[in-house]
């Protein structure tokens, strides 16, 4: 559901990003990667492993200032890392509240915990939870302050199919309700075809944008046949990025 003509909530224009490890050859991780995410849009960044997708997210979030280019919108983003990155010594509730700036930390979060099915776990420590539940806590932390855009780095990886589908459903419902945008990095093409409004295909290192593919069919009408046709078309066009 892209809103045409609206001001983008995220803008990325990375001219180049080099890694210069001491005592080793410099590596160019990203080159000429530019895209925007509009309000309410779900965008998936797809590319081979080690292609510089996570590097792009780190730059976008301001975690790595050593690059050439411009990014904007990080201040209205809620981030979910690939590993949940929860504080094991703090309760689930405390972890989620750390997603809020201190002046709003006492805010009522009952609705959020209920929506994500975390109410019973508020006082547990993260280690008592499964990986899928820990990811939900990380998601709750990202949503706590009502961001305009949710940035997800491989959020469903190493979950079993049922847990991944459930979490995916939660994310999609939440952002649809709140009119939030999503930028999601993944190497799972089927997953991306299932949820995205737009796919961004990224090449091997140095990561550069090779295709910007809108998926027009509304999410609820996407069936297996459509997903397979879409995947086959993409794979025919970009055989080095998308395997059949």
């Amino acid at each position: 559901m892209s809103v045409a003509g609206a001001e983008p909530v995220l803008q990325v224009a990375i001219a180049s990003k080099w890694y210069r490890p001491r005592g080793a050859e410099p590596v160019e991780a990203v080159r000429d990667l530019a895209f925007a995410v509009a309000a309410g849009e779900i965008v998936c960044l797809i590319g081979p492993s080690g292609a510089g997708k996570t590097t792009t997210l780190r730059i976008l979030l301001g975690l790595d200032p050593a690059f050439e280019g411009r990014v904007s919108g990080a201040e209205q983003a809620g981030m979910v890392f690939q590993e949940p990155r929860l504080l094991p010594w703090r309760s689930v509730e405390h972890n989620v509240r750390l997603g809020l700036p201190r002046e709003r930390r006492g805010r009522d979060l009952d609705g959020l915990f209920a929506r994500l099915g975390l109410t019973a776990w508020r006082n547990s420590y993260p280690k008592a939870l499964s990986l899928g539940m820990q990811r939900r806590v990380a998601l709750a932390r990202a949503l706590a302050d009502g961001p305009r855009v949710l940035v997800l780095d491989e959020p469903f990886v190493s979950l079993d199919d049922a847990a991944a589908a459930e979490l995916r459903g939660l994310v999609v419902d939440t952002v649809d309700q709140a009119g939030m945008s999503v930028l999601m990095v993944t190497h799972n093409v089927a997953e991306a075809i299932g949820v995205a409004d737009r796919l961004l295909l990224v090449s091997r290192r140095p990561a550069t944008l090779i295709a910007d593919v809108p998926l027009d069919r509304p999410r609820r009408e996407r069936d297996r046949a459509w997903a397979e046709t879409t995947r086959a078309t993409l794979a025919a066009r970009h055989p080095d990025i998308i395997a059949l």
Binding site: F81, L87, L98
Partner: protein, 245 residues
């Protein structure tokens, strides 16, 4: 079962002591009852309480100062390469200077005062704490720091929720090893230049009359106090700090 084994081993130890004392039949190896009698007499005179109290006070003050400064120093060393490089050598020197030398120099330069005594203990213990905490500050999880930056966590929350919990196990280790170190050094410091305390008393009974019952009596009482503090305070603190595991 565990408590029983402990009690049995204690009984064997005391039995062996009793036998050895009987065999020797000398006041240089007093029997357990003789030591106990001394402890009771010394307590009735009030000397025991005063001396143990003074030593405990010195341990408490120097322990607190050394822990606070040591933690701050250790975090600085672990987080800043420049601080580590510039302070590593002085730290190494201090770590390897005998406690006796530090104590004598403190008395010579500061005078035979309470301040010098505390200073000597702090200087002996501080590098230990700093080195242990430095290890903790070097092993901070970079993923959590990145999370903190992505969420623009304020400094106070970062220190309270991310830094200190990761340092806690190191701080408890430093506290436990540091406490036993501190009280041993305090005794030396008292022996060399204080008019009271357990170290003073032991030296007094040694020089005055080689009263071994007194020496063993004082050391047993103080040991019991320190083990009590470790079990009642520090071990519970450790269990509390590790509760989330």
């Amino acid at each position: 079962m565990g408590a029983l084994t402990r009690l049995a081993s204690l009984a064997v130890l005391i039995g062996a002591w009793q036998l050895a004392a009987l065999e020797a039949g000398s006041r240089l190896l007093p029997a357990p009852m003789a030591v106990l009698r001394f402890i009771v007499q010394e307590a009735e005179r009030g000397d025991l309480g005063h001396n143990v109290g003074m030593t405990l006070l010195r341990v408490a003050i120097s322990f607190t100062v050394a822990m606070s400064l040591g933690v701050v120093l250790g975090v600085a060393l672990g987080r800043s390469k420049a601080a580590d490089l510039s302070l590593d050598t002085p730290l190494l020197v201090l770590l390897n200077t005998p406690a006796l030398v530090i104590t004598v120099l403190a008395y010579v330069w500061v005078g035979l005062t309470e301040t010098a005594a505390i200073l000597a203990v702090v200087l002996n213990k501080l590098p230990n704490v700093a080195v242990i905490v430095r290890e903790g500050a070097r092993n901070l999880d970079p993923g959590l720091d990145e999370m903190a930056r992505a969420y623009r966590l304020d400094r106070r929350s970062w220190a309270r929720d991310i830094l200190i919990p990761q340092l806690q196990p190191y701080m408890v280790t430093a506290a436990r090893s540091g406490l036993s170190l501190a009280w041993k050094i305090v005794l030396v410091v008292e022996l060399l230049g204080r008019p009271d305390g357990v170290g003073f008393a032991i030296n007094y009974y040694f020089v005055q009359s080689t009263d071994v019952a007194a020496i063993i009596g004082y050391s047993l009482v103080f040991m019991a106090v320190m083990i009590g503090i470790d079990v009642l305070l520090l071990q519970r603190l450790e269990a509390y700090v590790r509760r989330w595991r």
